[in-house]
Amino acid sequence: MTRSGAEMSAIRAVLGLIWAALLCVPKVSGQVAPPKGLDFPMTQYRLKNGLNVVLSEDDSLPVVSVVVAYGAGPVREQPGKSGLAYLMENLMFQGSENVSPMQHINYVQRIGGEFNANTSFDKTYFYETVPSNQLALALWLESDRMASLAITGPNLERAKEALVAEHRQRRTSEPYMDSFFLFDSLLFPDFAYGHPLIGTEEDLKRIDEADVRAFASAYYVPNNAVLCVAGNFAVEKTRELIAKYFETIPRGADVLPPPPPRTEPPADRERVVRDLLAPSPAFHLGFRVSRLQTGEARSLRILDILLTQGKSSRLYKKLVKKERIALYLIGGVEERGGIPALRIFAISPNDVMADLCKKAVAAEIGKLRTTLVSEAELAKAKVLFKGDYLDRMARSLPRALFLCESVLSGESLEDIPEEFGRYLRVTPMMINGLANRLFKPENAYSLDLRAK
């Protein structure tokens, strides 16, 4: 049926009036339009079973990402059962009631999709990026393993064997891996916060079906999870699909937060290790404080960028490019149980250079305590922060992962644009104040690795 020209004109006129009226709606007092790149639509709601849902559309390409994040990680493990959370991550690919072992992977690959999972100390993420016409498939797959994970003897044995093989292979290909775990336990001495993510072979062998069932029923439940869909999709239809696949999954028992870590510094803060597989000497250096003051988390992020992130950072330029006493250098901020730590890791060609390297790091850190960072250097760090932040928001998977992490960490999604702006308002004085609180000898932790 076609409409007459007059009818079309009338419709256009009415639409024009509606549009004009919409444009005239006054802004809520204090509400500022989000900057470009953060002005994407977002819908957040909760299903009856407690599952937190976040939808964020972006129709620039026919691609959609689905992330399911559980508030579960090694922090929930008991001594003697380390590696259970990582084992769970592996088991999630071993099949569920309607998806046979490894079939999840086949389903996703067959349509050109990509998938993965990762576990941090307190969260585990599962995700797929698929062509947008296959959104229902991704939701079906995630809901099936949330509803009916196949925890069986053969599946468990297969997953344990795979992890033991992975341990051995990674020890060969990543000779410094164990040192990172050792340094974790130095920085975060509580078992829950500092034991190795991949567990030990002995502990893995000890884990049985009952342990896995108990862990899954306690933590892999909708009320301890966030589902985020980001990319090209229709909101109403997606809400219907989510209700269909997830709403009937029973809610689990309430999940209590893990016990907080001890805040008093441990006695053992420095260690030298000689018996590792390290091909070249290296060191880990960390600074942790028990509590940050308001706003200091943002200063810490900016300080980390100017000190350790990228080839223009102070430490990279001095140690790797200029003085050539480090072959490799990385750093970053990590927070466990509310305790933040700034970490630095460097590899040097020999022991003498490793010692020089540590001294040079100490000297650079000292400068941050005594001298204000220039506005130009601070501006450069903020450009890096801004570029990285906006880049994550521009792609469906990094955006969905970010939104899931924010929800699980208890952050408000509505506050994202404002929070972004707060980072850009960090001043040299704020950096200096933080440096003086953080870089104290009593906050320093170190692990020296000497090649055998």
């Binding site: 390409l61 050109g112 062509p131 959104l135 509803a147 130009a376 450069k380 570029g387 521009a394």
Partner: protein, 483 residues
């Protein structure tokens, strides 16, 4: 006592509840059907040629907050003089290390203030510089790029420093058995061809002088030999104006480049071992020369590659890792150049399974094995390629890179816009026809690993030439002959 009416009500309730549960079970039992295939609308690549011959190609993505810049010099390592391998790489690494009226430190400060770095990648035929900046920094970015490209000053000390950096980079890369194995494979495939220049050892870098670098720059770093790609929220008109502002004084020069015929495919059975002392595993790299992406067989070839080794669900991975348990991984792929390509297979296996692994790979890629491919396998491979294509275009630098390839290899806009349609058109006959063409000649086989661990396991091959990491032939292992 319950009345019959009440009993019926309870029965009905149970029935309804059962019905609800059954319905719930039903939709969980099998995967949902997909919606219709969405239309993929990639932003078009628009281009203009400035008066000095510089091609500006634009991929306009209005939602973007960043700009991804690529400067593609249409000359690479195969353009280095035959006696001076490495000149192309040293020249590329000199960009940004000093310009007229700008010291290297000043350049570095300006680039860093935009939060980025100019990264250079030198391949056989192209040198690609990438620089990603925020939208608001584009003018400053083009200004500094103009300075470093048009007025590069090549300080002697900086040339020596660039050579040293490249030397140690190469030494470091040689610790990777895949790099060593692939370089050896290319040395065989490009024997007697200018492409072989690109497979040099680190020691040749000492032969490169400042004069060589300046000569290479003068010859090839010309606007009429360059494509500048701008991807982001920028239309062609604005981009051309901005680029012209910084690059219009770049003077063109007539290029004396002759058409380079592609290397011939290998036709003989060749098995080579590169001895890497202390390597715990064996790395296999094998391959041969194939037609370029502009050829009529390109899309059937892509489907064939996907069937053989594109992903963990492909034949090689499923056979060598999942079924036989020989390999940590086994994949296939292709490096594509303007007039040819190299089809390769890479696998990492345990030393004791080298022989059966190579045999299985050769069997999997034989035309006879491919003849058994089913229509279902072909449809699965096509489904993967079509579905995966938009995923590979989400990140802005990937979009810029794809546009740069389309323009510099003259693939045509159809390659970009009709990707899915071209894959859909591939059928069983075309895959088999392509397999016969590209898989018939025997590939060169390279194994990289510790000869002390592998030696005993390869004695059933008729003949294996053993090389050191540098590519020097050390000895030959012959079947039934003790060394």
């Amino acid at each position: 006592m319950r009345t019959p009416k009440r009993g019926r009500a309870v029965f009905l309730c149970v029935l309804l509840l059962y019905g609800a549960l059954a319905a719930q079970d039903k939709f969980r039992k099998s995967p949902p059907l997909p919606d219709p295939l969405p239309e993929l609308r990639l932003p078009p690549i628009e281009s203009a040629v400035l008066s000095n011959g510089l091609t500006v190609a634009v991929v306009w993505k209005p939602s973007s907050t960043a700009i991804s810049l690529q400067i593609v010099i249409l000359a690479g390592e195969s353009d280095s003089p035959p006696k001076l391998p490495g000149v192309a790489s040293v020249t590329a690494h000199m960009i940004g290390r000093g310009a007229e009226l700008l010291s290297a430190a000043e350049i570095e400060n300006r680039i860093e203030s935009m939060g980025g770095e100019i990264a250079a990648a030198v391949s056989l035929e192209r040198t690609v510089f990438t620089f990603d900046v925020l939208e608001e920094d584009l003018d400053r970015a083009l200004e500094i790029l103009g300075a470093v490209f048009l007025r590069a000053s090549f300080p002697e000390q900086a040339v020596e420093s660039a050579k040293r950096t490249l030397y140690y980079d190469l030494v470091e890369r040689q610790k990777d058995p895949e790099f060593v194995a692939k370089r050896q494979l290319l040395r065989h495939l490009f024997k007697g061809h200018p492409f072989r220049t690109a497979t040099y050892n680190e020691d040749v870098l000492k032969n490169v002088s400042r004069e060589d670098v300046v000569a290479f720059y003068d010859r090839f770093y010309r606007p009429n030999n360059t494509i500048l790609v701008v991807a982001g929220n920028m239309n062609l008109q604005t981009a051309s104006r901005k680029v012209s502002h910084s690059f219009n004084t770049w003077t063109p020069r007539k290029l004396e480049k002759t058409f380079l015929p592609p290397p011939d495919p290998n036709l003989e059975k060749q098995i080579t071992l590169v001895d890497i002392p202390q390597a715990r595993e064996a790395t296999i790299f094998l391959g041969n020369i194939v037609p370029p992406a502009t050829g009529p067989d390109h899309f059937p070839f892509m489907v064939l590659n996907q069937i053989l080794g594109g992903t963990p669900g492909s034949r090689l991975f499923m056979n060598l890792r999942e079924s036989k348990g020989y390999a940590y991984y086994a994949f296939s792929g292709a490096d594509l150049y303007k007039n040819c390509g190299v089809f390769w297979i890479r696998a990492r296996v345990t030393p004791e399974t080298v022989l059966p692994s190579v045999q299985e790979i050769l069997r999997e890629i034989s035309p006879a094995a491919v003849e058994k491919v089913s229509s279902f396998e072909i449809e699965q491979a096509k489904s993967f390629l079509i579905g995966n294509f938009p995923l590979k275009n989400e990140a802005l630098p990937d979009l810029a890179d794809r546009a740069a390839r389309v323009r510099s290899f003259e693939l045509g806009d159809d390659h970009w816009n009709r990707y899915a349609q071209n894959i859909i058109l591939v059928n069983l006959e075309r895959v088999l026809e392509t397999a016969r063409k590209v898989l018939e000649p025997p590939p060169v086989v390279v194994i990289a690993g510790d000869v002390r661990l592998i030696g005993d396991h390869i004695r059933d091959f008729d003949k294996v030439d053993v090389y050191d990491i540098q590519g020097n032939l050390k000895w030959t292992i012959k079947k039934g002959v003790d060394r």
